[in-house]
Symmetry: D2
Subunit: 341 residues, 4 copies
């Protein structure tokens, strides 16, 4: 069998572990050939690829990023590709394509699959917001980085009687904020799923100071937003959903709290450190299992599906399920977090 | 409600996170009283306990070990306790007992429960071998420590063309060896579940050297054992299961491989570093959720059960299910690991 | 002997290690009494303090921040204190004061000392910019945090062919940028000591891309500034030194580079994570030694001095030497760094 | 100029950073050619080498081990090499040899230098026992690994009221034990430099338990030994210095303490994890500076010397000074450590 692999979308710790696993399983167990397309779908369309063998994936298990690169593709080009999917596969001589990516990548994968290209997807998102899989790799690493930052910030907050506002990734789903906030012992968590009221945070901080705990750490997802009209530090602009836009919610919230509390409140924007670097053991194992099962599915001819963690097993799930809707944080998970503030 | 908490058995990163979560949920949300028994069941029987409030659990989320201590109990004493369980609960004035522990602890919990004491259990084992829960806290931390050690050992093995044999925890179940071996990129994994043949490892190492990869890392669970009669470095004694005893399988295997291969093979015994120290974010979140759900179960009067992770949810499962049989590594998980050697 | 300790200025990993060491050496070896003033000089003036014994400093060696707190003092109040220094020492019953702090703290210490209070200082600055000591504790931790961030950012930069601009601490001295830039393998380093020309960075990035290394990481100290008039993204305001002000040099530089290069350039502002959390082993050892030597100097009556690392030894140096001028990065250190870009 | 580089002796985090720095400085700043000999002096004698350019050292700054390999050489072969040193250099076409290694390597370097080969050495030892340099790279990483292990072990020791004996590297000098013991907050430290009396450790543990601190961590260098005749768990054999031999001092000491105290005492042998893996920022900076200065010395024709850290500067020191005597832990450093037990 000849297998094509590509990584698309934002990078994520564990991508290399999937690539390595695909190559090991395909080459060593099945005697397959594997080729890797450069820079995501771009390499697929332009025919830029390189053969991947055991030597080519040696030492990448613990490395962040992706050895194949990842780049955005203009929309029109993908549609052309979809129109010519079977011809494209034939031209490249691949029996199956294994695209590793997020919602956009899997949507494209589904289109290619519907158009006749044999595809087995592997889901990837640091945000953990893909439906139909319990977890995605990269998420655990991001949560770990954010938690370690909060561990560090707590000691400095405590020494200076400060409020710290830590902005973590999560534009549409608050999983990183939820879990790193719980793990880091944050005293407030703001998620995109539920508009927050700055007044609640002010009250929480004041109560803490009143009982002698003279610091607080608040964990806010980059996509969180306040109840409309509740904060002064917005841009005044209104976004497509009718909410006020903020120029960095972490910074805006820190200003708002400092203003209201009359106490120092400092923002820390974690940014890209959350998505780079060595994956955690958890992410390496999950990514390795995903790669293994993708190859097995390919050999069983189980196309049009993607690998998904369900409990402790890896199942194959229709690509349509990945993109039907975003997996957001349900209310009961938020309730669990709130009780340990 | 008045809730008694205790931690029993070997320590495990995340114990303090459970205690903290129980106290937060019980005190802040329900207005309960919480008392913590010292040194496991010993404190319960001897009536050594202390009240636990928000201040008492401040700052312990990220701390390893258990602030309540943990100690073994003579068998007879527990049986007495079981015989007098309801009276004991009454004397201590507790409405529910939340014991946090492994198989032994949960077996005792079940006996107390059957004898009439209201009990809600929280499972704990670094080995991840408790049935009926997808994962236990502490396991992720142990796997992380072992993986980091393998990351380090690989570079030194490679520089010196050496074989490294890393012995990790796991007396009866090989989960830590399986997952840290996969995550650390080990070239061989030996589990208690399946006797290994040293000849296979010799072959693997020789093949690696033949294709220019002049080093190897082998991950072996402390409870792994070779096929009977296959290794020279045993003690000659026969254990209760009819197998030869080895004085440290990691050391014995390294000697055996060095002898057979004529190449340096060094053992590294990770030991107790795997069970101490700061829990990973994953373990803190799981432990916190377990504590939360234990308190809620207590308030619903759902006794005789323990908290279990099922997919992404925490369910309540009968204590009997925890101890019916050990959760060991199934063949298909081992097959996944083998393909990336 | 009765010893007073205080921590002043910004917090710094290792403060608690100094406090613990002072208490251990003073109490266990000399039978001294130790008291700790709360919130820096404020506690000294207001007489807020608590006795510190072995139990009180148990477990703090590895904890960031300071158990004594730290706060700013209005200028006038300190002058009053200086005027009444001997009386104050007498009132508090202390035979020696050990203030742990940065340039400001040691200047105040010197004034108190000159006014007749027996003082032994311990230098503290995350920026490593105190003269007369080879290193200060906290610096190694800050460099470690920044280096780990750059390790992570490199993989994500490489996967996306991006430029990353990492802003680290260092308002007046660029030591953190220099050493974390070298350790993190940055391709450009900007220090406060030497105005940089954005054109040089543009050239470096273009040369890298030309030879196939399609990413770059630039490490910039928060106090670095461009050659006057060389950057578009400034605020237009002129500061007290006649230079244009920038609203966050990291963000401004990323914008400038993105604009000039026509490639993605992202800022990451590390901020307070650099100064919180567990100190490195290096910082714990240095802090512990400083504490030990401060107590010994006090017992020898060697007042008006502070502890300093000189090679491998701890010497006692006149307080005046600490504050005579800032220790900035010399040209030859910058030259060493430049050759590995 | 044509520069030959080799790494010899045990591996050490930072070796790759030196190689990278040599190549960057030599190639980019001076237009030199650099070749790397494989497996230490063996590659030099057998003529196994490869050219090293910027691409060849890309990405190795943070990697442990050595890309050049390291192997032992039979003694006779080196003597032959020394006899023909100038001819050998001529045959290989190298203008200077930069050997990176420990005492043995630098002794050989000195012999080659005396015999007429232009040599500039770079000192390397995880043990920090080379005279004439304040520190060697690799040491900080080893101390960091050992300290983190002790941080972890403390929590498990405390939970179970146990004594932990941690054996760290250091056959002839106790620097790793000294600094990791101080940083990890050990309650006892045993060094090769001073025979210890198990009775002192017993007394220390009993006093701790008496005042309610019911655990202890003891850090012992692998080369530490007890006062003759003071311990039961030796092998009975007498070594070349007239002392009894112990089969692993950590394990023997744990047995001895368990026997004398009647309390659980567990050994943890850290072993090779101390010398593998990613170097700390400190070690990367020091290694990078050493490489830079070695190239500069070569260009100045300053042969027969090695790079040494003196305070904050890198000096060139005669090779003879490196090997005149071992740098051991002086009494006053031990005294500093003892006061914080």
């Amino acid at each position: 069998m000849r297998i094509g692999v590509l990584t698309a979308g934002g990078d994520c710790p564990g991508l290399n572990a999937v690539i390595r696993s695909v190559v090991h399983r395909a080459v060593a167990a099945h005697g397959d050939q594997v080729i890797g397309f450069e820079d995501g779908y771009k390499g697929l369309l332009d025919g830029y690829y390189r053969p991947l063998d055991l030597t080519g994936v040696s030492g990448i298990l613990s490395r962040g990023g992706t050895i194949l690169g990842s780049a955005r593709l203009e929309k029109g080009r993908l549609e052309d590709a979809v129109a010519n999917a079977p011809a494209l596969a034939k031209k490249l001589g691949i029996d199956v394509l294994i695209p590793i990516g997020g919602e956009g990548t899997l949507t494209a994968a589904r289109m290619l699959s519907d158009a006749g290209m044999p595809v087995v997807g592997v889901p990837k998102t640091i945000d953990n917001d893909i439906n139909a899989t319990d977890r995605t790799f990269g998420f655990d690493t991001a949560v770990g980085v954010a938690t370690e930052a909060m561990d560090r910030l707590k000691t400095t907050a405590e020494s200076h009687q400060r409020v710290m506002v830590v902005e973590v990734m999560g534009r549409h789903a608050g999983w990183i904020a939820l879990e790193s906030g719980m793990a880091g012992g944050a005293h407030g968590i703001c998620l995109p799923e539920r508009p927050f009221d700055p007044a609640d945070l002010v009250k929480m901080v004041e109560e803490r100071f009143a009982r002698g705990k003279k610091f607080a750490v608040i964990c806010v997802a980059e996509g969180a937003h306040p109840i409309d009209g509740s904060m002064d530090y917005g841009t005044g602009e209104i976004d497509q959903f009718g909410h006020e836009r903020f120029k960095g919610i972490g910074t805006a919230l820190a200003h708002e709290l400092e203003h209201r509390l009359g106490k120092e409140a400092k923002p820390v924007i974690l940014g890209h450190v959350q998505r780079g670097g060595t994956p955690t053991a958890y992410d390496r194992v999950l990514a390795t299992r995903f790669g293994w099962h993708a190859v097995e599915a390919a050999h069983r001819g189980e196309f049009g599906k993607f690998t998904a963690l369900r409990g402790t097993d890896i199942d194959m799930v229709p690509l349509a399920d990945a993109v039907s809707e975003l997996k957001t944080v349900p209310e009961y998970r938020m309730a669990e977090a709130e009780s340990v503030f």
